[in-house]
């Protein structure tokens, strides 16, 4: 049971860190995608959407090769004084960031694309700098999209299995996340524990999704009210 709690904690850390990194990396990317007229836009959009359609085994397989000490990512890590990254928490974070990228970038992109550029121009005429415009116009308007992005990125990382199974090495406390722990229990015929963890994860995911939808719904109603009074 202690090992299972360990897996829960590890999963929360992985999902939290992955979501944070994805919000930081995904926001400029989604903003660029929403505003650009570059001919490469469809290419970049397709690249970010790839993990949705690829089997996790494809990502896992190439990551296993890339994270090895003589693989491209492993070489960078060694140059920075580290070692091979497979079987490490860092390796899992790299894998999760790739795997969950579309689930964060897509909602952000939709939210940014829906923002009327005239509002930004109006703010610019009032001498709001780019950062100020982003903070006081874009962020409030895009809030539902940002919440959705964070929620989906987090939930999708918790639900990750194939990639972790292929690059994790199933090390308790380091790479044995919830989904792998459940798989392990089922394989070893410990159905009681598998049941406990699985039921827990279903309940948790359900609550998270309800919260997400409820938050967004309230937000939409607020906007509608403001429009009516205006």
């Amino acid at each position: 049971m202690n090992a299972d709690l360990n897996a829960v904690w590890l999963t929360l850390q992985l999902a939290g860190l992955t979501t944070l990194i994805l919000l930081i990396l995904g926001t400029p990317l989604a903003w660029w995608l929403a505003r650009t007229r570059s001919p490469f836009k469809p290419v970049v959009l397709a690249l970010t959407a790839l993990p949705v359609v690829l089997p996790p085994t494809v990502i896992g397989f190439y990551l296993l090769l890339a994270l090895a000490p003589d693989g491209p990512i492993g070489r960078i890590s060694r140059a920075l004084g580290g070692g091979g990254l497979a079987f490490t928490f860092t390796g899992l974070v790299i894998g999760s960031v790739m795997y969950s990228l579309p689930f964060v970038v897509q909602p952000l992109y939709n939210a940014f694309a829906a923002i009327d550029s005239r509002m930004l121009e109006a703010a610019a005429t009032m001498r709001a700098g780019p950062l100020d415009r982003f903070r006081s116009v874009v962020l409030p308007l895009a809030r539902p999209g940002i919440i959705t992005a964070a929620g989906l990125g987090f939930a999708h990382t918790v639900g990750e299995f194939g990639v972790v199974l292929m690059i994790g090495g199933n090390i308790p406390g380091k790479t044995r996340v919830l989904s792998v722990a459940i798989y392990d229990h089922v394989e070893a015929l410990n159905y009681g524990q598998a049941n406990l963890l699985s039921a827990g994860i279903i309940g948790w995911a359900f609550v998270l999704l309800i919260l997400l939808y409820a938050l967004n719904h309230r937000r939409v109603r607020q906007v509608q009210r403001i429009r009516r009074t205006a």
Binding site: F87, I171, Y183
Partner: protein, 247 residues
């Protein structure tokens, strides 16, 4: 409409042309322990050529296959990496009585593809990052690896550097991809492999007595029955060539 009917005709023709390949021989489905994947490929090729029967193979850890079969997976044959799980299936009445026998005895090898030499000493030093083993709970080769490390009094000390594959094939793959420097794998996996090997002395682990059994699902399947017979006779020389001992 004309287009559609000609399409239908072409489709039917293709289907009929394709079917005999599958209808020619009875097909049996075999659940095969991961360590035996490669010998099995060789064996089925020879068996199918000689008999016209067809064998379809699924590989996973013995524990995973055992769980599937216990829950009604429609396999005709089970080639395990231990004797315990086929025995438990027999007790549960899921096998054809009297069909269980030992088809091979496996050997565990310490493998270091990027080293000149490797031995027990290497395990006791700490100049390697990871040692790959199969999951001891589901894979007999993993259980044997754990026995070796316990016998050498290394189990608690080496634990932080262990990586567990879900089967011995994943453990092999962790090593061959360069992510783990060392692996305790099956000798049969290393027939064409490079690097240094150390055959682990048999006294350090219980013998890997690998048993095969005809499952209830396959009791009237002539292909499955013929393969069991083949496994006891003509298959033996190929099995030995992959580094297994024979009973």
């Amino acid at each position: 409409m004309i287009f559609f009917s000609s399409f239908l005709a072409a489709f039917t023709f293709a289907l009929v042309a394709w079917m005999p390949a599958y209808a020619a021989g009875e097909t049996a489905y075999a659940a095969v322990a991961a360590n035996f994947t490669r010998p099995m490929q060789r064996l089925t090729k020879q068996f199918e050529r000689q008999t016209g029967y067809v064998i379809r193979t699924s590989s996973a850890s013995t524990g995973a296959l055992f769980a599937q079969i216990s829950h009604g997976a429609p396999y005709d044959l089970f080639l395990a990496a231990d004797a315990a799980r086929p025995g438990r299936l027999e007790q549960a009445g899921l096998t054809v009585p009297g069909s269980r026998f030992t088809y091979a005895i496996g050997e565990l090898v310490l493998w270091a593809p990027r080293r000149g030499t490797v031995s027990e000493q290497v395990l006791k030093q700490d100049d390697f990052d990871h040692l790959a083993i199969a999951d001891p709970r589901t894979a007999p080769y993993g259980a044997a690896a754990k026995q070796v490390l316990v016998s050498l009094h290394l189990w608690p000390a080496i634990a932080p550097r262990l990586v567990r594959g879900e089967s011995i094939n994943q453990a092999y793959q962790f090593v061959v991809s360069g992510n783990a420097a060392l692996g305790l794998v099956a000798r049969s996996q290393l027939v064409a492999a490079r690097g240094a090997t150390w055959p682990v002395p048999q006294k350090l682990y219980r013998p890997l007595t690998q048993q095969a059994v005809l499952l209830k699902h396959g009791q009237d399947n002539p292909s499955a029955r013929a393969f069991m017979q083949y496994l006891k006779t003509k298959a033996r020389s190929i099995i030995a060539r992959f580094g297994y001992r024979l009973p």
